[in-house]
Amino acid sequence: MGYILRRIGFYLVAFWVSITLNFFLPRFMPGDPVSRMVARLQGQIRPDQIEALRESFGLSDAPLWEQYLRYLGQIFTGNLGFSISRFPTPVMDVISSVLGWTLLLGFVSLIVAVVIGNVLGIFAAWRRGGILDSVVPPVLIFIGSFPYFWLAMGMLYLFGVTLGWFPLRHAYEVGTAPEFSLAFLGDVAYHLILPATSIVLVSIGGWMLGMRNTMIATNAEDYIVMAEAKGLRPNRVMMQYAARNALLPSVTAFGMSLGFVVGGALLTEVVFAYPGIGYTLLAAVQNLDYPLMQGLFLTITTAVLIANFLVDIVYVRLDPRVRVS
């Protein structure tokens, strides 16, 4: 229990740091974001809204600590201000409309990569020196060396433009409205294949090598020899004894990646114009939409913190050593 409490304390500190970063970044950066934004919004913004904007960017006359407290209060009431580029939509609404797509893309590609990578790693370590162990890892390391957005561009060019097998952009056919019908879900899956595959290709090597290396260390343990001495079937030793114990580092890595699901596929989303968090973040940056930028960054950090906290809790269940120390 003490362990969990310490972790909660840590995540609170991390959350506070990211909020504070969010608060101070626009205030200490050169340039005057508000005048640029006001210029964009000429004619569609009321004077009191300009005042609110100025205030949220540190241009009010109130002392810094007062602004800071007000900012904290706004965050905890879920008020992140208005988006500039999609004025007058509140930032919260923009985020909730794009978050789903990012989660879909991120989870699908993460889970596929983790499952395939770990299974390959298990077999590679079990048959040291076999084809899976000597040929596949270098190939995967080489593929993993490509910038993942470049691989995405290549796949888009090959399968989208040249062969025309897959759609070029967006998460569903433009012109159709999201609905719960089989046709629409099929369309979504169809649009998902290319972006997800490009992420899986790049990340699978890391999972495989990580699993392989821990598994090699585990294979040298005495209880593996013991299990074999007992005459257990090799498959059982491999899965129930070696792989099961070698899985812990993968669980940690899985948790870290879980957090990065929300912000990690930024470049892939940009290449495929996939309407998720990353694509919106870039659009916000290009449009100088500072409130939306801050809101998105806060969403991404919060997701990372929550995911890591969940992993910590799961870890206590999985690894009894954590509870003791």
């Binding site: 740091v17 470049w150 290549g154 957090g259 990353g278 870039l282």
Partner: protein, 336 residues
């Protein structure tokens, strides 16, 4: 357990001598008290992966160094008709604007390698300072530094990069600064845990007793003993630096006026190279980045294998149930 049975001790002793084809370890050099970068370097030169990685790196370094000789003049100038596929005149074709793609990428290697290695050096250096201080000073310092490191590790890198790059003025310095801010935490954590285990060794306690100063113990006693892990951290940081710079510049958030592999990709995508089918414009920068990253990864695996004998590829196919060879084959077996 005697010294000869301890795999880690063996690794430190016979770094320079790869076993001969039969699996014998020919000669074990006498133990040396301090093994600096020299032993590691010799081990690397005997490792096929590391050598092939180093060769690729040298080729790219030469390319960057000789860019003004190979392609004199400004590579952004228009050299011919736009969007031409590779030909004898332009080996890698021309961009939509009519620039020579090969010249752009040869010149681009300068900025990309420079930023990558600068970020690598700075991020590793910051991580090393924090890791060493954390491990040596312990207690409050360690708690505070670990907290800061862990918080930075959790902050999502790419979105933070994008936001920082959006707020800061554009330029090469900004790119480097932003990459170091987001990249140092990972190396600090790795180096701290290594420094912690060295901190507990007897020779550190001995140095303290003989009255050596803190700085001297950190940099002259502890640091040389973690040379290999500093090295692999550095390589990982360079890979991160090159990739992240390319990503930032691809988004148009770096310095668009410089020529680098990232900006080449940015212009390729901006000029619609994908949609017009001009694959020769966007393929070369990606291949360059991948080759450099792959070469660095190879060197990194080489470092891993020379220092961790368990990861060395077995001579022949083995299964876990094959008997472990403690020594080489007996004389009777060898005679057969």
């Amino acid at each position: 357990m005697s010294l000869a049975q301890d795999p880690r001790a063996m690794a430190e002793l016979d770094l320079g001598t790869p076993p001969d084809p039969d699996g014998h370890v020919v000669a074990i050099p006498p133990p040396r008290r301090r093994r600096g970068g020299g032993g590691l370097l010799r081990g690397l030169l005997g490792n096929a992966k590391a050598v092939s990685g180093l060769v690729i790196l040298v080729v790219f370094a030469l390319m960057a160094f000789l860019a003004p000789v190979l392609y004199p003049g400004d590579p952004t100038l228009i050299q011919g008709i736009g969007s031409q596929p590779p030909s004898l005149e332009h080996w890698l074709g021309t961009t939509a604007k009519g620039q020579d793609v090969l010249a752009l990428n040869v010149w681009g290697s300068r900025s990309s390698l420079f930023v990558g290695f600068t970020v690598g050096i700075l991020a590793t250096f910051v991580g090393m300072l924090i890791g060493l201080a954390s491990a040596y000073l312990g207690r409050t310092v360690d708690n505070v530094l670990s907290l800061v490191t862990n918080v930075f590790l959790l902050l999502p890198g790419l979105p933070l990069l994008v936001i920082l790059a959006a707020f800061l003025p554009q330029g090469l310095g900004t790119v480097i600064l932003v990459l170091v801010i987001t990249g140092w935490a990972g190396s600090a954590r790795v180096l701290r845990s290594q420094a912690m285990s060295i901190r507990g060794k007897d020779f550190v306690a001995a140095s303290q007793v003989t009255g050596e100063g803190g700085l001297r113990i950190m940099f002259r006693e502890m640091l040389p003993n973690m040379a290999s892990i500093v090295m692999s951290t550095f390589l990982a940081c360079v890979i991160f630096g090159i990739g992240a710079q390319a990503g930032l510049e691809f988004l148009g958030l770096g310095d668009i006026s410089t020529i680098s592999w990232g900006t080449n990709l940015y212009w390729a995508s901006n000029d619609g190279a994908l949609l017009t089918g001009a694959w020769w414009v966007f393929v070369p920068p990606g291949v360059c980045i991948a080759l450099v990253a792959f070469a660095l990864a190879l060197v990194n695996y080489g470092v891993d294998e020379t220092t961790n004998p368990r990861l060395r590829r077995p001579r022949r196919r083995t299964t876990p149930d094959a008997p472990t060879r403690v020594a080489g084959p007996t004389r009777k077996e060898a005679a057969r």
